[in-house]
C-alpha cells in the first residue's frame, strides 16, 4: 500500500519558524529572503546565451554584467529548490502532475499558470521584489513601499478571485 502524505504542520508555528529563518538571514547575510531576484538573474543569463551583445547593452539586464549568476539570490533560489526537494520526498508529498480541480481541463490550468507567471515576472521587476523579497522581508522591516505592495497584492487577488474560481472546482 502506498504511504500517505504526512499531515501538514501547524501554520502558526510554521510561520514562526519562517520568521526565524528570515531573522537569521537578516543577521547573517544582512539581507532578507528573496526568490524573484534569482529568477530574474536566470532570465538575464538565458537571454545572454541567446543574444550576448544585445543583453549586455540592454538597459536593465545590462547592469548585471557578464555574469548575472554571480549573485547571492541565485544561490538562495537553488537552496529553496534543494530544501523543498528533500522535504517533499521525506514527507511523501512529491507527486507528478498539474494541480487543479477534477472537472477543469489541464491545458487551461497550465495556460493560467503561464500567464500568471508572465504577470508576476514583470511585476516582481517593477516592484523590485516578490512576496518573499518585498512583502515578507520589507514588511518585517516596516518599509512603507513593501507594505503598500502587500496590500495592493491581496486587494487585487481578492477582487479578481471569482474569475479564476472554476479551476479549483472538482
Amino acid at each position: 500500500m502506498e504511504r500517505q502524505p504526512e499531515k501538514l504542520a501547524n501554520p502558526y508555528l510554521t510561520g514562526v519558524l519562517l520568521g526565524l529563518v528570515l531573522l537569521s538571514s537578516f543577521t547573517l547575510l544582512g539581507a532578507g529572503l528573496g526568490a524573484s531576484g534569482g529568477m530574474a538573474r536566470l532570465s538575464a543569463w538565458m537571454e545572454g546565451l541567446i543574444a550576448p551583445g544585445h543583453t549586455l547593452a540592454s538597459p536593465y539586464f545590462g547592469r548585471w554584467g557578464q555574469e548575472p549568476l554571480s549573485y547571492y539570490l541565485v544561490f538562495m533560489l537553488a537552496g529553496i529548490f534543494l530544501g523543498a526537494c528533500v522535504s517533499a520526498l521525506a514527507s511523501n508529498r512529491f507527486k507528478l502532475g498539474a494541480e487543479k480541480g477534477a472537472s477543469f481541463p489541464t491545458n487551461l490550468r497550465l495556460l493560467y499558470s503561464l500567464i500568471g507567471g508572465v504577470l508576476i515576472g514583470f511585476a516582481s521587476r517593477l516592484a523590485a521584489g516578490c512576496t518573499s523579497g518585498q512583502a515578507l522581508t520589507g514588511g518585517a522591516l516596516l518599509l512603507s513601499g513593501s507594505l503598500v505592495f502587500l496590500l495592493s497584492l491581496f486587494a487585487t487577488g481578492y477582487a479578481l478571485a471569482r474569475l479564476f474560481r472554476r479551476q479549483w472546482n472538482d
Binding site: 532578507g32 536566470l42 537571454e47 529553496i80 530544501g83 507528478l96
Partner: protein, 382 residues
C-alpha cells in the same frame, strides 16, 4: 555591533553564496512543511477555504519584525547593516496590482513555485517559464517602463514615519492586527468547512496571548533611537593610500556632477540615482529638486549605508562647501559612488531653471528647449 555579510561587502563572494544557499535550504524546507508546494492550497486563501497563506505569512512577519526590534535594542544587530529597499510608491502599488492578478490566476508566487517544482508540479514549472518570460519582457520594454519604475521614489521610508507614530506603537498595532487576522481566518475556515482545520480554540488563545506579550515587551527595551549609529573609522593602514586617491579625484574633478547632466538624468527617471538634499528641513520644504530626499549631514553615513557602492549618489546644498566635505568624508568611509552638484542649488537655478528670457547672454534654440523641459519638470508642483 557585528558586521553582516552585506555590510562587510561579502554578500556576492563564495562565502556569501554558501551562506545564501544554506538560508535558502531552510527557507525551502519551511515552505514545503507549510504545504506551499501545492497551488491549490495556496489559492485557497482567496476562497476562504484554506487560510494557511495568511496565517504563515503574518506569523512570520510578526516574528521577524519583533525579532529585529529586540536584536537592535540589545545591540546584536545594527539596522544599517541590513539592506533596506527604497520605497517607490507608484511602482510598488502598480507592481502589487499586477502581481496580485498573476497570483490569483496561477496560485503560485516565485518562492512557492520553486517548492512546487521540487514537489513535481507541472503547473509550477510552466509558471516558472512564465516568470522568465515576464522578466525578459521587462528588460526589453525597460525604456518605456522607466517613468513608472521611478514613479514616486522616496528613498528608504518607514511605515511608522509615513503614518506619523512611533515605531514601538506601530509594531504593537501591527501585532494586534495580526492576532485579529488569525481569529478572522479561523472563523472563515470554520464557516466554510464546518471545522477548524489545524487547531482548537485553545491553541488560538495561547498563541494570540504570546504574540501580544512579546509585542508589549518592546516597551521595556532600552531606547536606541537616540543613539545614532557611529560611522566606521577608516582603516589606518590604508589611510595614506586612500587620501592620495581622494586628492587625485578632487584634482581630476571626478567628484562632482554638472547641473545640466543631473537635470537630464533625474528627468529620465534613472533607477539607480539617489539625489540627497543636505540642507535644513525648512529649506527643503520650501523648495527642493523633485525626487531628492532630505538627509541631515550627521545622519548621512548611516542613511547612505544601504546605497554604498551601488548606483549613483549626488549630494547638494545651496553652495558646494558642505556637500564637498561630506563627499570626502564618505569617500574615506569607502564610498566610491558619491558626487556633489557643481555650484549647488544656486548654480542649478541659474543654469537650468532661470527662464531664457531673463538671461543676459543669448542661448541656442537647443538650450532653450532644454530649459523649458527642465522648468516644466522641476518647477511643476506635485
Amino acid at each position: 555591533m557585528t558586521d553582516t555579510l552585506f555590510s562587510a561587502d561579502l554578500l556576492n563572494t563564495p562565502i556569501g553564496f554558501t551562506a545564501s544557499l544554506i538560508i535558502g535550504i531552510l527557507f525551502g524546507v519551511v515552505l514545503e512543511r507549510a504545504g506551499f508546494g501545492s497551488s491549490r492550497r495556496i489559492a485557497g486563501v482567496f476562497y476562504f477555504t484554506d487560510m494557511a497563506v495568511v496565517k504563515v505569512m503574518f506569523s512570520a512577519l510578526i516574528t521577524a519584525m519583533l525579532g529585529l526590534i529586540y536584536l537592535n535594542a540589545t545591540g546584536l544587530l545594527a539596522l544599517d547593516a541590513v539592506y533596506q529597499m527604497p520605497t517607490v510608491w507608484g511602482a510598488q502599488l502598480v507592481g502589487g496590482v499586477i502581481f496580485g492578478a498573476g497570483f490569483v490566476m496561477s496560485g503560485w508566487c516565485p518562492g512557492t513555485s520553486a517548492v512546487g517544482m521540487a514537489s513535481g508540479k507541472t503547473d509550477a514549472l510552466v509558471f516558472f517559464g512564465g516568470v522568465m518570460l515576464g522578466s525578459i519582457f521587462f528588460n526589453e520594454a525597460f525604456d518605456a517602463i522607466k517613468p513608472l519604475y521611478g514613479w514616486g521614489k522616496q528613498g528608504i521610508t518607514f511605515a511608522y514615519d509615513t503614518v506619523g507614530i512611533s515605531k514601538n506603537v506601530f509594531a504593537i498595532l501591527f501585532s494586534l492586527m495580526a492576532v485579529a487576522v488569525f481569529w478572522i481566518s479561523e472563523y472563515l475556515e470554520r464557516r466554510k468547512s464546518g471545522t477548524s482545520k489545524n487547531q482548537g480554540a485553545r491553541f488560538q488563545k495561547v498563541f494570540g496571548a504570546v504574540v501580544v506579550i512579546v509585542a508589549l515587551g518592546i516597551f521595556i527595551l532600552p531606547d536606541t533611537t537616540a543613539v545614532s549609529p557611529k560611522p566606521r573609522p577608516p582603516q589606518v593602514s590604508a589611510d595614506q593610500q586612500s587620501e592620495t586617491r581622494l586628492m587625485a579625484q578632487v584634482d581630476q574633478a571626478a567628484d562632482h556632477i554638472e547641473p545640466e547632466e543631473l537635470a537630464d538624468r533625474m528627468m529620465s527617471g534613472e533607477p539607480d540615482l539617489l539625489v540627497v538634499d543636505v540642507r535644513s528641513p525648512r529649506e527643503y520644504a520650501s523648495f527642493h529638486l523633485k525626487g531628492a530626499v532630505n538627509v541631515p549631514l550627521e545622519e548621512l553615513a548611516a542613511y547612505l549605508a544601504a546605497y554604498k557602492n551601488s548606483g549613483l549618489i549626488v549630494l547638494y546644498s545651496n553652495g558646494m562647501t558642505h556637500p564637498a566635505q561630506a563627499r570626502d568624508s564618505l569617500a574615506r568611509l569607502g564610498f566610491n559612488n558619491v558626487y556633489f552638484l557643481t555650484d549647488g542649488m544656486t548654480g542649478f537655478s541659474q543654469r537650468c531653471l532661470k527662464p531664457v528670457s531673463l538671461r543676459r547672454a543669448p542661448v541656442s534654440r537647443e538650450t532653450a528647449e532644454k530649459v523649458k523641459g527642465w522648468r516644466e519638470y522641476f518647477l511643476r508642483q506635485g
